[in-house]
Symmetry: C2
Subunit: 319 residues, 2 copies
């Protein structure tokens, strides 16, 4: 017998409200803000065939759907509190739902947040999550605060998700070990929530990397009215990325997309404090360049020579 | 030239932030809660062909996509503050976007709220809005508060949207005037926000009617652990509904769906206060029955005789 909409919600997504005053099952969820905090809100929409492959394991999809939103909260230095889920799918497939809910709720548990409401319907497979977090009033990390002279930093490694996609598409041959690592990076990104919180009052600007380093850095530069110089040799990369042809390595690093690492700026004098904050958050960070006056985005090699790159990020209506 | 994702957001959806600390264009929106208030959050997902017809005017679709969420906030007695929009569409169609944004933002302006963030992508036409409102701590109207002896009330008229759908499908012949009125009810529902706020501290439970009177009343009865008797003759209806065959009239009234009126309960002794609250909110309300002990949902005719009805509401995975 087909599972109905209300049973589906009950069975896979309803759990007792812990933080929320009212959780799943009423017209609205009700959540009590912490006094003195502001609310950060972010929404992402994932469409099958565009944001994820039909072959993805449902558990990883559940993880990723929430992870991309927590990554946006991390980029604002917000502490996640709750999220809602809107889910359209062709039919109520119990095996899919069981795995999807497991991946989704495991990541929610890891961050101490809960699913407070949502909507499910029949339709093409589409997932939209809206996540809420809190930040002390006036201390959200924004894109517009980078200043000339600031160091440019990034967390983790770049390009792994793009490398996995290229391998999937048959454009790159990499070892089985490398493919597993790349696929895990693509399907199970780890939102840098602890790092974002540790960077409050330290970073001058921040953004999460979803559209590729150059594209997202461009957003920061435009919002801040500055330029930047990126050192190609300084970009942190997985050891196995060296299995790819050099031109493809560069594309993965600079234009990869789906990294979900934090790109941020901080005054050069605070470099030691940035390293300490990252260590406290358990995340590696690397200094990859410098913010400059003007509006130009330059990429240079180890000898300081300009590297030619196409500067556009990923655009969902142009790809 | 095709419109890009970021230009699209800029051109149609970005407006200067008024209430929000940070609006569209950063990783998150940042909103300052009002001290002493709790946050109400609701999400809806609309899929073309299921929740709206491909023939709907984009402006009406923009209106409706927000209206259904404001209706959920109304059912909690919340005052709307802000919303996010996740929009997938096959291509960046400027004529569609212009109309859609106009309808969406006009309703937002009418309620003094703003679009604070979102996501756009290519894909099947799907719209997901998450709306936020505020309610004084502990005073949200919920489904679980109905008590035996309470009056059962509903706002506006019932069944208009279903009547329009039946006419669209060729199952009913109605006059052009009636069709226009019904279609307007279906495509431009008016969320009962002012009524919801006026009912704080007065209604013992509330829900908005999206799945049909009996289905949604069933949610209230189960959540409250009570039964109810509904008087068929007391159900408020548009004059032109009489153009439909009696059996279809009854289906529209009892199981219509998409009404977006408020169904609520209040102590019988507070009937005059309910009428005064509704008058203050500029909305007609009608007493349509009574909450009873037990768990049964009965519908009776003008002579008190039981009317046979199928009690299930709309289910997106069973229809």
């Amino acid at each position: 017998m087909a599972l109905g909409e209300f049973e589906l919600i009950d069975r896979f997504f309803r759990r007792p409200a812990r933080q929320a005053v009212v959780g799943v099952g009423d017209d609205c969820a009700v959540v009590a803000p912490t006094p003195g905090m502001q609310w950060c809100v972010t929404t992402d929409l994932l469409v099958e065939g565009r944001h994820f492959l039909p072959t993805v394991a449902p558990e990883r999809l559940g993880h990723k759907a929430l992870a991309v939103n927590l990554s946006d909260l991390a980029a604002c230095g917000a502490e996640p509190r709750a999220f809602t889920l809107a889910l359209a799918m062709p039919r109520a497939d119990e095996a899919f739902l069981e795995g999807f809910a497991r991946g989704l709720l495991a990541l929610a548990d890891a961050h101490g947040i809960e699913l407070v409401g949502g909507d499910t319907t029949a339709g093409p497979l589409v997932i939209s999550i809206t996540a809420f977090g809190e930040v002390p009033a006036g201390r959200a990390l924004l894109r517009g605060g980078a200043r000339a002279g600031d160091d440019l930093w990034v967390s983790g490694t770049l390009g792994d998700a793009r490398a996995a996609l290229e391998a999937f598409r048959g454009n790159a041959r990499i070892s089985a070990e490398a493919f597993d690592a790349a696929r895990c990076a693509m399907e199970r990104p780890q939102p840098r929530v602890a790092l974002g919180i540790a960077l409050r009052g330290l970073a001058t600007s921040a953004i999460d990397l979803s559209d590729g380093l150059l594209g997202d850095l461009g957003h920061v530069l435009r919002a801040s009215g500055v330029g930047a110089c990126v050192e190609l040799a300084a970009l942190p990369r997985s050891r196995w990325l060296g299995e790819l042809p050099p031109a493809l390595q560069r594309i993965c690093l600079l234009q990869g997309g789906d990294d979900y690492e934090l790109l941020f700026t901080a005054p050069a004098a605070r470099a030691a404090a940035v390293q300490a904050a990252a260590q406290g958050a358990g995340v590696a960070v690397a200094r990859i360049g410098r913010i400059e006056p003007g509006a130009a985005l330059r990429v240079v090699d180890a000898d300081g020579r300009a590297v030619e790159v196409a500067a556009s990020g990923f655009d969902h209506f142009r790809t």
